[in-house]
Symmetry: C2
Subunit: 142 residues, 2 copies
Amino acid sequence: MTKNCNFIDKLREAGLRPTKQRVKICEILFNREKTFHFTINDLAKKISEDLNEKISLATVYNTVHAIQKKGYLKEIAINSDKSYFDTNTTAHHHFYDEDTHELIDCDQSNIDSINVKNNITGKKINSVEVLIKVASDNQNHN
Amino acid sequence: MTKNCNFIDKLREAGLRPTKQRVKICEILFNREKTFHFTINDLAKKISEDLNEKISLATVYNTVHAIQKKGYLKEIAINSDKSYFDTNTTAHHHFYDEDTHELIDCDQSNIDSINVKNNITGKKINSVEVLIKVASDNQNHN
DNA sequence: TTATACATTATAATTATTCTAAACTATTGA
DNA sequence: TCAATAGTTTAGAATAATTATAATGTATAA
Ligand SMILES: [Mn+2]
Ligand SMILES: [Mn+2]
Ligand SMILES: [Zn+2]
Ligand SMILES: [Zn+2]
């Protein structure tokens, strides 16, 4: 998923037409070693930095959502200001740095597996995820 | 915190002038047996139902944020559409019903205490909370 | 190659939230 | 008691993220 291969086939397999814009966005998102946590704004900024041509904001939204619906991106709820997306689509936990507003993956081995003893009746569990909010150690002591 | 007492003293203790609007909002929020999870919109709707007089939306926002800053309300990040607030300010986990968009407290005894083995260097942990997303058992099987 | 379905785009609309500034009210301390 | 003051409420404007619209452009199947 993070190899420098062509995304034309990948997109096609997902039933998404491999347009220039989609291929470029996939390159940015998936041609990397590490997980990428981003907001639409982060991505749009990265596009305009990396690219000579521009991609309209509507297309960035459309493409990210299309890729997400196919299961290649995960949306993470951190605050109500904006949506965060994650190229790591596996079930995993996060650190959220309240100083930098940065999301950091928390290795599964870092937290023992969570057992929910009693679930809501008639419902099935879709995900169980931990959010660890961290901040600088030297805070202002009023 | 959930007794039918006067909120005039409570607000005053918190350094908030006990205005008519604030007292009314506190009654709605805290004069109840169970935890209340709500969005600003939920609360505004409840106010207009319960009350003959109206409270402006700006005041609802102002008041909820003022109460939250004093530590009597907690903000919960569930999705990026809107903010959720919680009258239960203790550290606790949640179920989120993706069908009804309802937040439900998860009893601490329902999940064994979570131990984060390795924290981010130079940061302190402010909270560790679990979000369990649930949905109806009988989903559409395409 | 051509028709068609799908995608991109600029721009408008929507929604949650915050800001502004004027009118109002609770509190303080003469 | 009662102004002076500081804080509060309010309608409405502004902002910011996101979604909708509709015209134009492009990928693909036949
Ligand atoms: Mn927010
Ligand atoms: Mn949204
Ligand atoms: Zn992640
Ligand atoms: Zn709760």
